[in-house]
Symmetry: C2
Subunit: 214 residues, 2 copies
């Protein structure tokens, strides 16, 4: 398998965690999102993913896009170390937790949106960071409520083994820490992030451990 990745992309980070948890070896193809206006906007990369986003995964003769779709595909084709629970209600919960991050939080705070706020909208750095903190905190507030109010939450987001929800939580916390978001209001998120940090699969997926890390 070939993973088009950028060390700091949190969507790529999710997929790296999933690949590592399942013990699937892969070739990392770095796509630099800043150099020369962004390598993801080159014709070569548009041919891989017309969405001009990372990650993309070449597997089984096709190119898959969208981090959550990729993780579900990996889970279906490599059933060892399942990343979704065996019951339909459990799967619905894990997917909803993942989507709270992947649909409601990250899309509002990712690189292309921050670039759009600074460029076409002409926002100041301070106003851009206000935007970042607003949506990041709103997402973390909801995720914390979902986790803290459920008996299904265990050592990890759902029970005592990592799931797709943890694959999303850890990169989101990495972003929060990078931009000095105070995690004190989110003790359950912080506790789960620490539990994940003990696991080699999560450690090896960390941005600082990537071949393209700066």
């Amino acid at each position: 398998m070939k993973l088009y990745t950028y060390f700091r992309s949190s969507a790529a980070y999710r997929v790296r965690i999933a690949l590592n948890l399942k013990g699937i070896g892969y070739e990392a193809v770095p796509v630099h999102l800043l150099k020369g206006g962004g390598e993801h906007h080159t014709d070569a990369y548009k041919a891989v993913n017309p969405g001009e986003l990372v990650p993309a995964l070449e597997a089984d003769g096709v190119t898959l896009t969208q981090s959550l779709a990729i993780i579900e595909y990996l889970d279906e084709t490599h059933p060892m170390m399942p990343l979704l629970p065996p019951d339909a209600l459990g799967r619905a919960r894990v997917r909803a937790l993942a989507q709270t991050i992947a649909c409601d939080t990250h899309p509002l705070t990712n690189l292309r949106v921050l670039q759009h706020l600074k460029g076409p909208l002409g926002l100041s750095e301070e106003a851009k960071m206000d935007w970042y903190r607003h949506w990041m905190n709103e997402g973390m507030r909801v995720l914390e409520a979902q986790l803290a109010n459920s008996a299904d939450t265990g050592r990890f987001c759902h029970g005592d083994t990592p799931t797709m929800a943890d694959c999303c939580l850890v990169p989101q916390v990495f972003n929060a820490n990078r931009f000095n978001i105070d995690l004190a209001p989110y003790p359950t998120i912080a506790r789960i992030d620490e539990a994940c940090a003990q696991i080699p699969a999560f450690q090896a997926a960390h941005p600082a451990q990537q071949p393209d890390a700066e």
Copy 2:
């Protein structure tokens, strides 16, 4: 089942289509997103969904959130009229198409974001609409490329029966039409939208057909 819905919410619209396609009866509980500052921000609704978003679905003794997680749950628990293909690659494709809308497009153009642009950011109506058109067109461009360049696209997004991807496409086109986005650059999307419009399940889910329509 009880669906917390708003006639014009495109995430709720997705779930209404899925329920109708499967022939699942449900009670619609309207949550007005504008009246009195938004009924989704009341304590009563926060107890239903701390995310303060629609839809939420009460089913099997629990409350489910996140439209795509809800649709997958309905598909797993009501296998008739499957909304995901039988093969893993097909499921990955349908999920990626759905997520192109639900992760990359809709979160940037939904009500809470538009309200934030006008309120805290103080953008003019014109600048707000520029933002709307920018992200809507970017999402439609990617979706069109994904659909037009694949032999898997049929009468619908994936083959000749509706899937979860069509449940997302139709509400997105409804939004585009509402804000006068020109669909000419997206002929495949427009063709699939017209095919869906022939189906009673899609017709009955249309915002204009809802009990809370204005």
